[in-house]
């Protein structure tokens, strides 16, 4: 890890997904995040790294956690933040997304953090705009900072990612978190097994370098880390599975099932959890759960990303 910082120079202007990052670049982000984690424990939780920079948060989709986490990350780096909650689609607005973003660009912001319900919007903005663009979640495609904080948490707890066996359980089809994690985790040498109902498993996902099973017990017995995903939208998901009740029974993680697991297995969830569906309350609050560590680490990881994108001299591709 130490060597990564020396050998890799950060040159990127945007963060759209982990597929485009090298192993060394991901390691550099995680290493940088380590030094920022300490800032949040200080009496005065602020460093001047991004003083004078303006970060606009353009959220076309409601979000509390991710938005607040980015906002705190920016503020702890002394950047000015701007919150724009836009309507969910330009369809209803009669104004194209690009036009909205160009208006924000015209106010001389340095960075746009964007979330949108449709895949590809961050790429379209990055291709067209001057400010740095961070993808804070687009459709079912990518959520790179979530994956980075997940990886940071695993490495923090286990000391490594290389060789770690990670099980991701749930609605893979609709999960941008799963996709970004697969890119990042496999690049850093982890072994990833996906588990979920056949109807929520996307076509040819194995080609991303993961294995697929529908047997949760197998995953529980073999994994070092178990990550449960949120059932995205219960109403939508009900068309894919017989019932939430059956889902909880077959794919829900509870303490009974966890008895077969390795003692120090890590239980993760990108949140917000449907307690009693993906994970039981007992498991979510139990000793193996690192769900709140994920939230804490999210700020450090996002500070690292903001710092690397804005605090270093980058040229547009």
């Amino acid at each position: 890890m130490k060597t990564a910082e020396k050998t890799v120079k950060w040159t990127r202007h945007d963060l759209l997904d982990l597929d485009e990052l090298s192993k060394e670049e991901i390691e550099l982000i995680l290493e940088t995040a380590k030094s920022f984690k300490e800032v949040s424990t200080r009496e005065v939780k602020k460093v001047p790294a991004l003083r004078g920079k303006t970060v606009a948060m353009l959220f076309f989709e409601p979000s509390t956690r991710t938005r607040v986490s980015f906002e705190l990350a920016a503020k702890r780096l002394s950047a000015d933040t701007l919150n724009i909650a836009a309507s969910s689609s330009s369809l209803t607005k009669g104004e194209s997304i690009l036009d909205t973003a160009k208006n924000i660009e015209a106010m001389n912001v340095d960075m746009i953090i964007v979330r949108h319900a449709s895949s590809g919007i961050p790429k379209i903005l990055a291709d067209a705009l001057d400010p740095s663009v961070i993808n804070a979640g687009d459709g079912c495609r990518a959520h790179p900072t979530q994956a980075l904080l997940d990886m940071f948490t695993i490495e923090d707890k286990l000391g490594r990612l290389q060789g770690v066996h990670i099980g991701i359980v749930g609605d893979i089809l609709h999960s941008r978190v799963a996709r970004s994690n697969i890119w990042g985790m496999t690049k850093l040498g982890a072994q990833v097994t996906l588990c979920g109902p056949a109807t929520l498993m996307p076509q040819y996902i194995e080609r991303m370098g993961v294995s697929v099973t529908h047997d949760l017990n197998f995953v529980i017995r073999n994994c070092d880390v178990l990550m449960a995903l949120r059932l995205q939208n219960e109403r939508q998901v009900e068309k894919f599975i017989p019932s939430i009740r059956e889902y909880a029974k077959v794919f829900g993680i509870n303490s009974q099932k966890l008895k077969q697991a390795k003692k120090d297995i890590l239980i993760m969830h990108p949140g917000p959890t449907n307690r009693g569906v993906e994970v039981s309350a007992e498991v979510a609050d139990g000793n193996n759960s690192v769900i709140l560590d994920q939230v804490t680490n999210g700020i450090a990881v996002r500070m690292a990303v903001l710092y690397l994108l804005l605090g270093t001299k980058n040229t547009r591709k």
């Binding site: 330009s90 449709s118 459709g139 996709r179 996307p202 040819y204």
Partner: protein, 426 residues
């Protein structure tokens, strides 16, 4: 004034050896073809170095009139067709109002006549309002001038309705064209369901959404002993089903669009909404199968599925942008570059796929060949000319082409329709 084409290297589907001759056009007919015809004060076109094709026929276009004249009109669409080398185009009925009654048909024919460029032949709807429930008045539509019927844009998803449509159309002797897509399987998909849709997190349209309707319609056509034409085939599996059906003597014909033998779903990594089309761009395997099918005749013809949309609509998210791309002005260039130049098909096969077969499928007896006594619909192509597709050069009202910026080899030089020069590339 009679029109004389000198040094005409004719390309006909019937594989007759190509040799330069002169073609004399009198009024609307090819009057004479001979080794040397004296100019005698005729208007002369010297076609030296160029190729003389029978006027191209596109059996699948969307002209958007009536209803969405901001996207295309019969006039702008006719101009685009003429520039693209097409002398006859069939326009789909998913207009507003839908072409499902004689009045709309007559309106289109009247407007096309006023424009007076290419032959515009309307396709009527199979069901009223294209709702998939009740049959339209088929006799009346045919009498008004409909050349075929289709609910294009969607399939006739109720099999019972399709059965009745086939039986009735057989009696009336009018062609049915099916848009093969099971709406429940395609659901809200926006691209081909496969590895790329998985990576991009975009909702997929599985190949089976197309093939279940292909298979169903082949079965119905076999049962009723009638013909069916399958629009815009995009899959290897569809080709296999059609090949089998043809080998068993079932009267199925099919078309494919230039984009389906040129582009794959990989391209959508750019999120360019001009690549959003229905049926969606498929995989490399499918593209190769479509090319093979165009070579061996399993797919009878090339049709553009010219589908104009405004910039504003195509600026929407990939999830919400409308499906379709324009195709009239790039079809010749793409066919020559991707198929002829790469030796997938010969020039004669190009004439077959773009003129002879379409004429045969829709029953135009005096079109589809450059022959004495045939209609003087002629497309003169410069096979060597390279050109770059440019947004500003489209004459279509819409510019939604994913081929902008691409360099193509093979360009329409002159288009003659009904003995009149309707387009000339200067």
């Amino acid at each position: 004034m009679p029109l004389l084409i000198k040094n005409a290297m004719m390309v006909n589907a019937d594989k007759a050896a190509r040799q330069a001759q002169d073609i004399l056009i009198e009024k609307e007919t090819i009057a004479r073809i001979a080794a040397s015809i004296p100019a005698n004060g005729h208007q002369v076109i010297d076609a030296k170095g160029k190729l003389i094709f029978p006027g191209l026929i596109d059996i699948h276009t969307h002209l958007r009139q009536p209803g969405r004249e901001d996207k295309e009109t019969i006039e702008s669409g006719s101009k685009a067709a003429a520039k693209g080398g097409f002398t006859t185009i069939l326009c789909m009925p998913n207009t507003n109002p839908v072409i499902d009654n004689a009045m709309v048909v007559e309106g289109i024919i009247k407007e096309a006549k006023r424009v007076g460029l290419v032959n515009v032949l309307p396709i009527g709807a199979i069901t009223r309002g294209q709702k998939g429930e009740e049959l339209t008045d088929v006799f009346e539509l045919k009498e008004a001038g409909c050349i075929a019927l289709s609910d294009d844009g969607k399939a006739v998803s109720n099999s019972q309705v399709m059965r009745r449509a086939m039986e009735y159309a057989k009696m009336v002797d009018i062609l049915l064209i099916e848009h093969c897509e099971d709406p429940h399987l395609s659901s809200c998909g926006v691209m081909h369901e496969g590895y790329i849709s998985t990576l991009l997190g975009l909702k997929g349209i599985p190949g089976v959404a197309e093939t279940v309707i292909v298979a169903r319609d082949i079965e119905l056509a076999n049962y009723i002993d009638t013909r069916i034409h399958l629009a815009h085939m995009s899959l290897k599996r569809s080709v296999e089903l059609i090949r089998l059906a043809k080998s068993q003597g079932i009267k199925v014909t099919a078309e494919a669009g230039p984009h389906h033998f040129t582009l794959t779903d990989e391209a959508i990594k750019s999120f360019d909404t001009n690549l959003k089309v229905n049926p969606p761009l498929r995989t490399r395997d499918d593209v190769e199968a479509i090319k093979e099918a165009l070579k061996d005749g399993t797919i009878d013809c090339i049709a553009t599925d010219h589908a104009p949309h405004t910039l504003e609509e195509k600026e929407l998210e990939f999830d919400h942008a409308p499906v379709g791309m324009i195709g009239l002005e790039t079809a010749v260039g793409l066919t020559m570059t991707e198929l002829v130049e790469k030796k997938v098909i010969t020039l004669e096969q190009m004439a077959e796929r773009m003129s002879f077969k379409p004429a045969q499928i829709i029953g135009l007896k005096s079109k589809g060949q450059v022959k004495e006594g045939f209609d003087a619909d002629i497309t003169i192509i410069d096979p060597k000319k390279e050109w770059t597709v440019r947004k500003e050069e489209f004459v279509s009202k819409s510019k939604n082409s994913p081929f902008i910026g691409r360099t193509l080899k093979g360009c329409v030089a002159t288009t003659i329709c009904g003995g009149r020069i309707i387009y000339q590339n200067d």
